[in-house]
Amino acid sequence: MSTAIAEATADRPAVAVLPLAITAVGVATPAGLGLEALGRAVGDGIPGHAEEVLGDETPPPRPVRTVPDLRTAELIGRKGVRHLDRTTQLGLVACRLALDAQAEPMGERTGVVLGTSTGSIRSSSEYSMETLRQERPYLVNPSLFPNTVMNCAAGQIAIRHGLRGVNATLAGGHLAGVQALRYARNALRQGHADRLLVGGVEEFSAQGAWGWHRSGALDAEAPVGEGAAVLVVEPQAAALAAGRPALARVLACETGFAPRDGLAEGLASVVGTALRRSGKIPGEVTTVSLGCTGRTGLDRVEERALGLALGGALPGQTVRVKETVGECFSADGVLQIAAVLGLWQHEGRTRGGTAVVTSLSGDGLVGCAVIDMADPLG
């Protein structure tokens, strides 16, 4: 362990976190729309839809996973949809599914916390390309300009559902899920919203797929995927008071930063802190949900970190959501959580699960979220 991490974590207070209740989930993945489809695919090892999303450019020769049918006309209507890019459409569909899973409409004191890495890389790079290809560089389409801004999807979600609470977009890439939940807990605590839609979204595009292909960051057989996942969260106490049943609880969400030669130790350190702040011991962990499947070199770092943190072998249930959905970058984190919830539902589990959800980036960011099914959930 690096000296800096040892010193910094030594005096980190193991203050218990405010548990959040997850009251609904909306997912759009290569397994189809909805949590049930994802849970079934993960549980039964069914690979996701493997056809490319059509665009002007040909994607690289490698496997892909894409959402088969977004049903946009039915789920988000036809009005104003024409100019929305796929990132925003995926986000809107996942939110619609999450909201439809609720018994009652959300109040306007609801907010949005959405994870991304670059927004839609297809939208921004195509817009930039237009400045080179048009007769005059400014002859770009003004109605597509909003798509090039990273918080486009979060803004559209707020507008379509009248959500006036905090509206945040986090550029966390692989860390976006745990960062979004961490951000959400603070925002709820500070009163910036009563309830939050917390999600991650990543679209498949030829531009993005070529980027992965050329970067060498993925194993040759690892598919480039896409998806969106949204969790409806609020403080557990508020859900109990309102009589809203919870699917699960979000306990600690810890993030940190490690030197490139100390990633496993850095990740192990945040997993340890996350368990302490969740009031859990390693022996209570039933499930790990991995974020590095198919990522060259990092998959072994992640498993080594979990071995260090949990004191040996991985627990019985190891979820590798990317085997179903492919590499989903900034949607990974929330999809890792959704996969656990879907799987638990699929296997009929109603109590006793505790999952450790890990995230890692080669740049040095490390993160861990702890999810459980407390008894009673309310």
Partner: protein, 407 residues
């Protein structure tokens, strides 16, 4: 009001990389003088663009400021952010080991992330197809690398969060840093933002009719729009008690902040929603409208922004709108860094005792109504005690921070 048991939070270090200079002293001197530092664009080919001025950081040499990270591995925005953070730490007179040995992290705002890197790759795509993308350069694309660069440069082991809430992102960042330090989650946070000039935004703003030809004149009757700009800014945030114990210079105390969302329109701001954000920021800081001595405006230089921002202020302050100025009149719109530069100049205004000016105002737009004082020309000597810093963004994302003179 802060939560019971929360720690007081202060700003003790400032770093700027901007068209108005590198380092807080040069930046502040330029702003106080009311000097306009926007200029003809050199960073990209402007052939065919009718408007070609911006707030560019010309001849930026990251190697002169960065000690640990290798500039070539990072994008321009990350270089700006890490350089500004390095400057802020030096300004705070904090040793590298004291910072890295504590629970320290960063939170940086951005609008377009590593847009200059994306455009580098787009030019490769244009020349030889997507198959020709430089794989190493692809690794520099993620916007999350902006905060990662700060942590890497300073050896921080705490969180590295990049907020992409467009043009209010730095205020979101400062608010988050305040919460993390107040609640004891962190001991030091670098908060700020960074963005790079890029062709696509220049083209997009021009097509929206929002781009000024050469001069950005917020609040002036003859204003014609924004000038795009770039840069990086960082503020070192720490607990008051720790700052006092180590004998640090305290520029300002973070009193509170608020964020909300219009949820109405992606590009047209809503005065009622902004007014509510102001009121909520005042409640958070435990102040009333009478306490506010100065407003650092979002002040982009468009008619819509001025009308909305003044209407929102009027709704809260009535006929006594505090002096309200825009530093974008001098450095242009630095996008995700804009409200960070606003917070920085607010710190200096509180610490040195002046009101930052709006450059280029010849006649305050009468349509804004009576009592609008944009501090025209050059800085005005004054003794502000509590100031308010505005950031409004695309998507209706409003964020307002309230800073007070250290006591």
């Amino acid at each position: 009001m802060p939560e019971p048991g929360a720690r007081r939070v202060v700003i003790t270090g400032l770093g700027a990389v901007s068209s108005a200079g590198i380092g807080v002293a040069d930046f502040t001197a330029s702003i106080r003088a009311g000097r306009r530092t926007t200029s003809p664009i050199a960073g990209f080919d402007t052939t065919g663009f009718p408007h070609t001025h911006a707030g560019e950081v010309h001849d930026f040499d990251p190697g002169a400021w960065l000690r640990r990270i290798e500039p070539a591995r990072w994008g321009r925005s990350a270089q700006f952010a890490a350089s500004a953070a390095r400057l802020a730490v030096a300004d705070a007179d904090l040793t590298a080991s004291a910072l890295a040995g504590a629970r320290s992290g960063s939170v940086m705002g951005t609008t377009s992330g590593e847009s200059a890197v994306i455009e580098e790759l787009v030019s490769q795509w244009a020349a030889d197809g997507l198959k020709s993308l430089d794989g190493d350069r692809v690794g520099a694309v993620p916007a999350g690398r902006i905060a990662a660069a700060v942590n890497s440069e300073l050896g921080l082991s705490g969180e590295a969060l990049t907020l992409a809430t467009a043009c209010s992102a730095s205020n979101y960042a400062l608010g988050y840093a305040y919460d993390m330090v107040a609640s004891g989650e962190a001991d030091y946070m670098l908060a700020g933002g960074a963005d790079s000039l890029n062709r696509w935004a220049h083209a997009g703003f021009y097509r929206l009719g929002a781009l000024a030809e050469e001069i950005c004149r917020p609040f002036d009757a003859d204003r014609s729009g924004i000038l795009t700009a770039e840069g990086g800014v960082a503020l070192l945030v720490e607990p008051y008690d720790r700052a006092v114990a180590r004998g640090a210079r305290i520029y300002a105390e973070v009193l509170g902040y608020s964020v909300n969302c219009d949820a109405k329109h992606m590009v047209h701001p809503d005065p009622a929603s902004i007014a509510e954000c102001i009121r909520s920021a005042h409640r958070s800081a435990g102040v009333t409208p009478e306490d506010i001595d100065y407003i650092c405006a979002h002040g982009t230089g468009t008619r819509t922004n001025d009308a909305t921002e003044v209407a929102a202020a009027r709704e809260v302050f009535g006929d006594r709108i505090p002096p309200i100025s825009s530093i974008k009149s001098m450095i242009g719109h630095t996008m995700g860094a804009a409200s960070g530069f606003g917070a920085l100049i607010c710190c200096m205004a509180l610490y040195e005792g002046f009101l930052p000016p709006t450059a280029g105002v010849e006649r305050v737009d009468p349509a804004l109504g009576p009592g609008v004082d944009p501090v025209a020309g050059a800085a005005r000597p004054a003794g502000p005690r509590v100031v308010q810093n505005h950031g409004f963004a695309f998507g209706g994302n409003n964020a307002i921070t309230i800073l007070g003179r250290a006591s």
